[in-house]
């Protein structure tokens, strides 16, 4: 029989959208002096969700000044234990409002509710809980007896995990006594503005957190502002380079979490069913909009013929569609521009002779959609093996020996993540030791935890987020 799952939509009624949103500066929502607005769309159906004020230079001046005042007068001098209590309070409010935030995130970003509900939001709350506990224990973090906050942190985050990236940035900054001016991504500002409400609800002192929506120009002006002491950026390697250049010669501290082209190495002795799951979640989790995605499958030749049919059979079962349907595995591509980029680079693979496969899957007519795609016959020289696609496109390469696997995995300017699948412990450790990547998932993939440092080697950026290591980025 055919067992169709009836639509199981998560209710939108938990979300109340305003028609337009202002900037959040010095504890208040205030109109932008720029007078400009952007429109945030639901990428699943291209409907307009809200108008959002765009911060200009004068707004940034005001926010940085507010953050400076708050840092010097209130947040910096405050005992760590009290700072921590604010973070605990925020964590609790996030938990209380998690369904609303999950739905809002799915609407603004296009990712499935299953992920916002089960991954993003629990991790957001966990990040605040984890860092709350650090606030009064910084002297024990191995960073000297009396580590000091840097001051005002300018933070620019991407659209792939809007609220989670906000948590990764704001929680450690606040725990360490810094204040922040954060710019959410142009296409996904809404949960950051909901977070601003949470700051108000938590009675967080004005100016400690400032949220300035905008596009690239807002981000550039913010990170180049002479009043900031720290710049933290997550996004593309291209923009990361520009930022690194712009802070050169200043005393600003910089952490960058950039692109990747992660290799997922499957050895012949792998637990194949779990490896298939890991390869699938490695590239199709969050529509492949993941900097640490396992976008290159490196499979040992002796098991390739066994793995690939299993993989395709599994991919054919992925459910693509309405992000708010609880059974959706793959949601919408975040924007028209990103969809165009995925198409362009995937097409280039075909033009270069790569074989392209997607399961039969019906895509909605409105919105931005891209079917899960597997590219085989890929070699190291192909663009699809070298450039970050940032979409649901897996490039499959093969190898013969462990050394060849490692050589191919490392043969990229990036170095963010890698996966290893083997049932042999010594081979796993041998491989993990040689992979030039900041995170190595063995017999698992795309796992995150606030206690686990995350960040890249080489052109995937520098600095770590999470864990004891992540505190270093915000302390002098």
């Amino acid at each position: 029989m055919i067992f169709e799952y009836a639509p199981a939509p998560e209710s939108r009624s938990v979300v109340t959208l305003r028609e337009s949103y202002d900037l959040f500066v010095d504890g208040e929502f205030t109109p932008a002096e720029s007078g400009e607005y952007l429109t945030s769309l639901n990428p699943a159906d291209e409907t307009e969700l809200a108008r959002v004020a765009v911060a200009g230079a004068a707004d940034i001046d005001r926010a940085v000044a507010a953050a400076r005042r708050a840092q010097e007068k209130v947040w910096g001098p405050m005992p760590g234990a009290e700072r921590g209590k604010y973070l605990f309070r925020i964590a609790r409010i996030v938990q209380e409002r998690s369904r609303e935030l999950a739905v809002l995130e799915s609407m603004d970003n296009g990712k499935p509710i299953k992920e916002t509900r089960d991954v993003d939001l629990p991790l957001v709350a966990a990040h605040f809980f984890y860092h709350a506990g650090w606030a009064d224990k910084l002297a024990h973090a191995g960073l000297g007896p009396d580590p000091r906050p840097l001051g005002v942190a300018a933070q620019v985050i991407p659209w792939n995990f809007p609220l989670l990236m906000l948590a990764w940035k704001i929680a450690p900054a606040l725990a360490t006594g810094n204040t922040v001016v954060l710019k959410p991504a142009e296409t996904t500002p809404l949960t950051a503005l909901a977070f601003a409400e949470i700051c108000q609800e938590a009675d967080l002192p004005p100016g400690v957190v400032n949220i300035l929506p905008g596009a690239g120009e807002t981000g550039r002006t913010l990170v180049e502002h002479p009043g900031v002491d720290k710049v933290a950026f997550t996004g593309s390697t291209g923009v990361g380079r520009q930022i690194a250049r712009s802070v050169a010669g200043t005393s600003k501290r910089l952490t960058l979490e950039l692109g990747g082209k992660g290799a997922n190495i499957v050895y012949e002795d792998a637990a194949l069913d779990e490896a298939v799951e890991g390869v699938v979640s490695g590239i199709f989790f969050n529509q492949g909009h993941v900097c640490c995605a396992g976008s290159r499958l490196l499979v040992q030749e002796s098991v390739a013929e066994e793995l690939l049919p299993r993989l395709k059979e599994r991919i054919a079962k992925l459910r693509v569609g309405d992000p708010l349907d609880k059974n959706t595995d793959i949601g919408a591509i975040n924007s028209a521009a990103q969809l165009e980029r995925i198409r362009e680079i995937t097409d280039s693979g075909e033009a270069e002779g790569v074989r392209r496969w997607s399961p039969d899957c019906e895509l909605p007519e409105k919105g931005y959609w891209f079917a899960p795609t597997v590219l085989t016959g890929v070699s190291q020289a192909h663009r699809v093996a070298r450039e970050e696609i940032f979409g649901p496109v897996l490039s499959v390469l093969t190898f013969r020996t462990p050394q060849e696997a490692v050589d191919k995995a490392n043969n990229t300017p990036y170095g963010l993540s890698a996966g290893v699948w083997t049932e042999k412990g010594s081979r796993m450790l041998w491989t993990a030791e040689r992979l030039r990547a900041g995170v190595v998932w063995s017999n698992t993939f795309n796992k995150f935890d606030p206690a686990s440092p995350f960040g890249g080697y080489k052109e995937s950026g520098y600095g770590r987020e999470g864990g004891r290591h992540g505190l270093e980025a915000y302390l002098g």
């Binding site: 191995g142 190595v440 206690a451 960040g455 950026g461």
Partner: protein, 328 residues
Amino acid sequence: MAERRGGKGSGKNAAKAAKHEAKASDKGAAGTREAAPAARLAVRKTYKLYLGGAFPRSESGRSYPVTSAGGEHLANASLASRKDARDAVSAARKAFGGWSSRTAYNRGQILYRIAEVMEGRRDQFAAGLGRATGAGPDEADRLVSAAIDRWVYYAGWTDKVAQVLGGANPVSGPYHNTSTPEPTGVVAVLAPQNAPLLGLTSVLAPVIATGNTAVVVASERAPLPAVDLAEVLATSDVPGGVVNVLTGRVPELGPHLASHADVDALDLTGAGDAATEFEQAAAETLTRVVRPGPDADAGEDAWLDPDPGTARMTPFLETKTVWHPIGM
């Protein structure tokens, strides 16, 4: 500063230098114009580059005269070129795999061996330092001791740093999760300009203690202690290519090292006014950068702290976090 192409070191200045060299161990830094009493002609030392474990001249054939703190000619040093810098990076890259995969214990043994060999040549280093910086014999001796002790200090760090900086992360799930520091790779070190031995040692030792390989641009004005040190490294079981020493001009070599895509990290201590320009160039390949500290231009005394801690190691370490499920 003058520059020579294919110079043989002949001429008046060189003759003075030879006399100076012959007397140096007796009289310290101060040069002397007295005629040497012995009939024997001193054997002069040629100061060359140190690349991949060998001591070549600059491929450009160029050299430049090096003078003492007092302005007397000491020797001609090789004037390294862009291509020498490129060769040095290649040598450092080639050596990285082997050096970084040695056990930390073995690296510690080798760093301690450097200290042992230096100790045996401490008079030579003291004399050289005296000539280079004008330090008196006692001060030079003290600085040499500090430099030797610096190698001992970092020899002891090699197998501690992973425990101090790494560890287990208590993640919320059935996973074994550990973070370990790993060397960044090839580090270009623009050594302090006014601290040619202790300062140099203080920036170089932490780089290689942690398993990185280094391309060092020695103090431009006082490069000779760096070449002396290279000779120690060459006889201390340090594999060729782990440290590569270039003598020459920061404005000429710096841009190529800063923008070189195969340089993973850049220590700008000796960059002087060019630090910002180099940092901008390094941004192109996201090269890790250590900006000049407040004492970057200070003399050897600024580097005397016997316990500099981990501050000069952490910038050249990457944190790798490995997850693995825990199950039956």
